[in-house]
């Protein structure tokens, strides 16, 4: 598909010049174009925040819901119509802060959706408070003396939760990130891609340079099916590995095991209540 089909033309993008979100938008569009994603089958789901504005900036179906709740809506959209490709994309505050409980339980449910998280280690839209991934001692107007909460490690937690696809990428690396996005979308089941993203306005600690200096890619011969190894690599600090940490193809997505799809493959919108069965059901209350 020509990438032009995804473009909205001359739109006003509400991100700051130089923001890492632009990179992710570009990579996303290239990914979709290269995998020939039919537009009407794609649904982008997001919450609220700077990252969460991303669906506004490409041609797609979207559900831009509440702060923290993207995964719940995304899961249900997939459950209601399995032929849709669903990408839930939002910020680190959205997904790991307000949305933390859905993060846990969506991973347990393993719906076939892709979860892209813009990890700028800060709350951008609300002007620079700490996010769950903010580094220790990061100073903000609310974390006056610096962050003291242990930074949330999304990869380690996802692996602990038996997520079936766990990756980390960097918004500054177009090609590598695109490949990770492609794998994630192709993965059958829940796929997490945590994307390091510089916030040039509010995060003066984790800058482009910082990310460049403090990341490297997992080795070519790295085996992403070894859960213990994956956990270990996910725990690395100082220098943060990028790439696909963990994949597990043994678990089936929830929607493929659902009772409601046992005898009927159709998406829900095509269904009507079975009146014959309903009458029988009602009649059963006669006895």
């Amino acid at each position: 598909m020509d990438i032009k089909e995804l473009e909205l033309g001359d739109i006003d993008i509400a991100w700051c010049p130089g923001c890492g979100n632009f990179g992710i938008l570009k990579i996303l569009k290239q990914t979709l174009s290269e995998i020939e994603m039919p537009l009407s089958e794609l649904v982008m789901v997001s919450g609220i925040g700077q990252a969460a504005k991303i669906p506004q900036y490409l041609r797609c179906n979207y559900f831009n819901g509440l702060h923290g709740r993207a995964l719940s809506a995304a899961t249900a959209i997939k459950f209601a119509n399995r032929s849709l490709t669903v990408i839930a994309e939002s910020g680190d505050g959205d997904m790991y802060g307000e949305g933390g409980n859905h993060f846990i339980h969506t991973i347990r449910r393993n719906p076939d959706i892709t979860n892209i998280v813009h990890n700028n280690m800060v709350y951008g839209l609300t002007k620079g408070q700490a996010s769950p991934t903010s580094k220790l001692q990061f100073k903000t107007p609310v974390q006056v003396g610096g962050v003291v909460l242990d930074p949330f490690n999304p990869l380690a937690v996802a692996i602990a939760l038996n997520a079936t696809f766990v990756a980390r990428a960097f918004s500054g690396h177009i090609e590598q990130t695109k490949e990770i996005f492609k794998q994630a979308i192709r993965h059958k089941g829940y796929a997490l891609v945590d994307v390091f993203q510089p916030c040039v306005t509010f995060n003066k600690l984790n800058t482009y340079k910082w990310f460049k200096d403090n990341t490297y890619y997992l080795e070519d011969d790295y085996d992403p099916t070894d859960r213990q190894a994956a956990f270990k690599r996910a725990c690395e600090e100082g220098k943060y590995p990028l790439g696909v940490f963990y994949t597990d193809d043994s678990r089936r997505p929830w929607e493929d095991m659902a009772d409601g799809y046992k005898h009927d493959d159709r998406p829900l919108y095509q269904r009507e209540p079975d009146m014959t069965q309903l009458k029988q059901l009602i009649a059963s209350y006669r006895d």
Binding site: L39, S40, E41, L42, V43, V45, I48, K53, Q56, R59, C60, N61, Y62, F63, N64, G65, L66, R69, S72, A73, A74, T75, A76, I77, K78, F79, A80, N81, S83, L84, N101, H102, I104, H105, R109, W254, E255, A258, D259, G260, Y261, K262, H263, P267, L268, Y269, Q270, R271, E272, P273, D274, M275, Q277, L278, K279, L281, I282, Y285, R286, D287
Partner: protein, 575 residues
């Protein structure tokens, strides 16, 4: 001296009382089922504690020649099944109450001087039949005899009820029932006990079911094919029902991690073309109110079943109240339209839940079905549901290339498309948005969207309300008002009063308030409202909408539904 259990009344009120986990519900199911088959009207209702074993719970079963569907204080026949049972219902006993039980169980909790007690040794009978656990069936046998039911009918029913069990177990059940049956038949034959009830064979065609089933069946009839919820008494039964039928009816049912997920899932499901609902109670719904506001903003249809229970907070988790009307009415930040139904019996529960899906879809608004523990957990004999009106009105459009989700139309309703059906893109946004669904901060667009979403659609739903039902003569001087599950108790109280100048007005749609409300109220010289809450929330709503202040407010908030007698007495004192 002969004891008459019916005393000229058309019904007998039987109360079973015992501990949680003792199997009172089984006795209820068996007895209600047998009675209905025999040609009696049956109504049964439970009050129980928030625990799994122990404590003291009771079930009232009214067996009647005429339709009855209300809770009465009166106990004609008490079957105490634990030592603390008599004490638990002590304040509802009268000189006329006959207590039938087992001294082994009751010990000194029964007092021959005070209580009108006849012993039937359920435990002994059960042990002879094969073990203590058959005591419940023995009670059923004893009751069946008193109710003049044939033993063969009892046996047949037992065989059906326990059909998944071994033949030995079935036989033991029959033995226990038969032995107790003989004992109590002897009492009846001796003339010590009298009971006059008429049987009506046509009742066999009726249904015997509870509010929770009615809501669930209504949902399925309304095309509900997605339910996401988190367990919470008393609403869980609806989730369970739908889960049980998921495979058969092709429903997607998921227990969410919390109510927030449940709500956002259901909204997401509607977006993708499902017909979704959540079922919860007030406290769970409190967590869904942000989601409610989302549904309103993106103009998603939504159906919300709230089974009310007493609050605040955890309150009395297994009991009943009507105190979450204001919550349903005002929940959510910002301003938007909504619809609230409050069924008073299984028929309305079924038809209103069904309708909820159509109205939600038609106007793209959230619709509430507001029930309570009393309605959900009570079981009623009712005529066959009328399915002829069941229409699954779908309001989805196939999108074309230029599709705009929030196109401005004359009446404010924008044709609703879904992703993957048609060529268009479907974009919805929780921020203020333009016709395409894109974020805007234009004040002009904001104004137009508020006009469309709030003002025009409020107009539309005001024009499609369900009129309240008047019970009694048009010529009333006193008008008694009720809503939701107090309907039957109020109606029976009116029958007891038997006055031409007192009528009952039963609201099953609370919001938008049906326009007939004002006319009915204006005609009355005296108005009385019955509400299962402390602050007369519906009376307040009526005042707000009609300017009419209802004179007398009868409230109850102790966790039980109104007894017929309470309403009777309160109204009688006022007129």
């Amino acid at each position: 001296m002969a004891v008459s259990l019916t005393k000229g009344r058309a019904d007998v009120s039987i109360v079973l009382c015992g501990q949680a986990g003792q199997g009172i519900q089984t006795v209820d199911s068996l007895l209600s089922g047998i009675c209905k088959r025999t040609g009696y009207n049956v109504f049964s209702t439970q009050e129980f504690m928030s625990r799994i074993r122990g404590g003291a719970n009771s079930t009232q079963i009214r067996v009647s020649s005429k339709p009855v569907s209300a809770f009465v204080r009166r106990i004609d026949l008490l079957i105490p099944m634990s030592k603390n049972a008599i004490e638990h219902v002590e304040n509802r006993l009268s000189d006329d109450t006959l207590i039938v039980g087992d001294k082994v169980t009751l010990g000194d909790s029964v007092d021959q001087n005070k209580h009108n007690f006849i012993e039937i040794p359920f435990t002994e009978i059960a042990e002879e039949a094969g073990g203590k656990i058959y005591a419940n069936t023995a009670a059923v046998g004893a009751l069946a005899a008193l109710l003049k039911i044939e033993l063969s009918d009892v046996n047949e029913f037992l065989a059906g009820f326990f059909k998944s069990k071994s033949s030995e177990i079935i036989d033991n059940n029959k033995k226990a029932a038969a032995a107790a049956y003989e004992k109590s038949k002897a009492l009846l034959d001796s003339g010590d006990i009298e009971l006059e009830l008429k049987k009506d064979q046509s009742l066999k065609e009726q249904l015997l079911l509870g509010g929770a089933e009615a809501v669930s069946i209504g949902a399925i009839a309304g095309g509900c094919n997605f339910a996401s919820s988190y367990p919470m008494s008393p609403s869980t039964a609806v989730l369970t029902f739908l889960a049980q039928k998921a495979e058969q009816f092709g429903l997607i049912v998921e227990q969410a991690e919390d109510e927030i997920a449940a709500m956002n899932m259901s909204i997401g499901a509607w977006y993708a073309g499902a017909r979704a609902m959540v079922t919860t109670s007030g406290g769970g719904f409190a967590l869904m109110t942000e989601g409610l506001s989302l549904a309103a903003m993106i103009e998603s249809p939504m159906v919300i079943h709230i089974g009310q229970r007493p609050g605040p907070a955890t309150g009395l988790p297994t009991r009943t109240e009507q105190a979450d009307l204001n919550l349903a009415l005002y929940a959510g930040h910002g301003e938007f339209p909504r619809v609230i139904y409050a069924p008073g019996n299984p028929q309305d529960a079924m038809s209103l839940t069904h309708k909820a899906f159509n109205i939600a879809d038609k106007y793209q608004v959230p619709v509430f079905v507001l029930t309570d523990q009393f309605l959900l957990d009570s079981r009623y004999t009712i005529p066959e549901f009328d399915l002829s009106e069941v229409k699954n009105e779908k309001h989805l459009v196939k999108t074309d290339k230029d599709y705009l989700r929030y196109a401005l139309t004359e009446d404010g309703v924008s044709p609703r498309g879904i992703p993957g059906y048609g060529e268009g893109l479907v974009d919805v946004d929780s921020d203020e948005h333009d016709a395409a669904g894109h974020i805007t901060e234009s004040m002009e667009v904001r104004n137009r969207m508020m006009q469309k979403r709030l003002i025009k659609k409020t107009e539309l739903i005001r024009n499609e309300t369900i009129a309240p039902e008047l019970v009694g003569s048009d010529d009333y001087k006193t008008l008694v008002i009720c809503w939701g599950s107090t309907y039957h108790a109020a109606k029976e109280a009116m029958e007891l009063l038997g006055r031409d100048d007192v009528a009952l007005l039963y609201f099953k749609q609370l919001w938008p308030l049906p326009e007939q409300a004002a006319d009915y109220l204006k005609k009355a010289e005296q108005t009385i409202i019955i509400e299962g809450n402390a602050t007369s929330q519906f009376a307040q709503l009526i005042k707000l909408e009609t300017g009419i202040s209802i004179e007398h407010r009868i409230n109850k908030y102790d966790g039980l539904s109104f007894f017929v007698e309470e309403i009777y007495e309160a109204v009688n004192n006022l007129i």
